[in-house]
Symmetry: D2
């Protein structure tokens, strides 16, 4: 089984995503915080933003990867995304299909933080977290990036 | 006619987009540099990145807006995006339809730097630049963002 | 001024979009009907569908273009999209930035049906319709399709 | 193991996707044929189309789902997508992350035809096909559609 428990350093990635959500949330417009860690231990945190035309919405993971790439790196090794409800309960969210593509494009060996239990919308789900390889979340990726 | 000539401060936005493209280009993967300036004069510069599945590709403007929003701002007032050919010739590119939506979502009064002449792929086009209101590039926007 | 009044044949395109919306609407999931007419007078009508992850949502125009292309044609000459409120009032909606790209990719000379007045969300707006060239709705298109 | 061998009826879905690709391919613009079968045995076949701005590209699966939904159905039960090389060799392609979202949005119990072997770009891969549940291709889907 490829799921692994989080190290303290991994929990820091979640903490940065939560911090981004707390600082930057605008209800209905900016809600999902995300953070990515590169191979040298840097963490890039950002927040999602909605478009009035839904298709153009930018996920938290896309935003965090944008910061990473603008800083000259592509070696994402760990990803976390979170949403907080009105009571401040943290939900750790798996990436959507597009973000899975982009994470795997940057680094096919990246890992993603998810709840141990499948149902990430349970209020207790974020109290037990694991990491999964991106390849487990996007098996049989159709196309690989060529440099 | 709403086109306006660039101020020296506006040219600095182009320069930051060019600088991002020069520093960060990876042929076929990262090529279009972009920069956005907010109302307080801050400039956020970034680069586009391709996905192996084209639909997931992140434009330079999306990346630059991601940096801006992660920094707690939405008041984009000026946008520039550039691509450099093998000889280093700079082409100032208008935003695609998705980026027009996102720019207008952030600030319906934002302006975009484009070549004065319509054909931005002419090698000389970037030597004469103007700014246009985003509303001229996306007239009759279908939906408006509600907070 | 490039806006043109609708011919009876053009009104039939709107009617097909309205018919698609009436037949196929599922509130919150399928709502925007669209229709496209090709050079030989065929009309292809379809409906938009939401994704649970907003970015994957398929606009009505994308769906109608998909039918047209599956039928072996790319020569879209006229496009209409409509949304009906709970009272059955018809709103003729301009295409979003992505759909403008796709329409222009198929045929840079295509026209789009919009309300004569800018504010298409006014309940009376759809009683006075005009057609506009897609190039007016997406001026300075950044990239052209090459076969 | 959830992979299942194809029935003759399942092979007919592949055949329809191949037929769409053979009839409709325009190199560089329309290349990936796709077909979906609904619960009542109807098959809807279509082809992907590129946009000049990559993000707007419409996958074959999106196009085929558009036909299905325009026909008043959402109960996709089987999906296939194919690409043919210059020699006519058929490659059965897994859906991208966006298409996985849309397939699962329509029917979380849908199945997808893929090559038995993981590397679908091997010229022999399409000679041994299986079906997989969409949930295996998009585990931990982040959001579910609500009607």
């Amino acid at each position: 089984m490829p799921a692994e428990l989080l190290t303290p350093a991994d929990h820091a990635v979640v903490a940065r995503a939560v911090d981004a959500a707390r600082r930057l949330t605008i209800p209905g417009i900016q809600e999902v915080g995300a953070a990515v860690r590169t191979g040298d231990g840097q963490i890039f945190a950002a927040i999602h933003f909605e478009s009035a035309t839904g298709f153009a919405t930018v996920c938290g993971e896309v935003a965090a990867l944008s910061l990473m790439i603008a800083a000259g790196r592509r070696d994402v090794e760990l990803v976390a995304a979170v949403w907080l409800d009105q009571d401040g309960v943290v939900y750790v969210l798996p990436p959507c299909g597009r973000c899975r593509e982009l994470i795997a494009d940057c680094n096919p060996a990246a890992r993603v933080i998810v709840s141990r239990d499948d149902d990430h919308w349970q209020p207790q789900a974020s109290t037990a977290l694991v990491t999964l390889p991106i390849a487990d979340l996007l098996p049989r990726k159709s196309h690989r990036l060529r440099g």
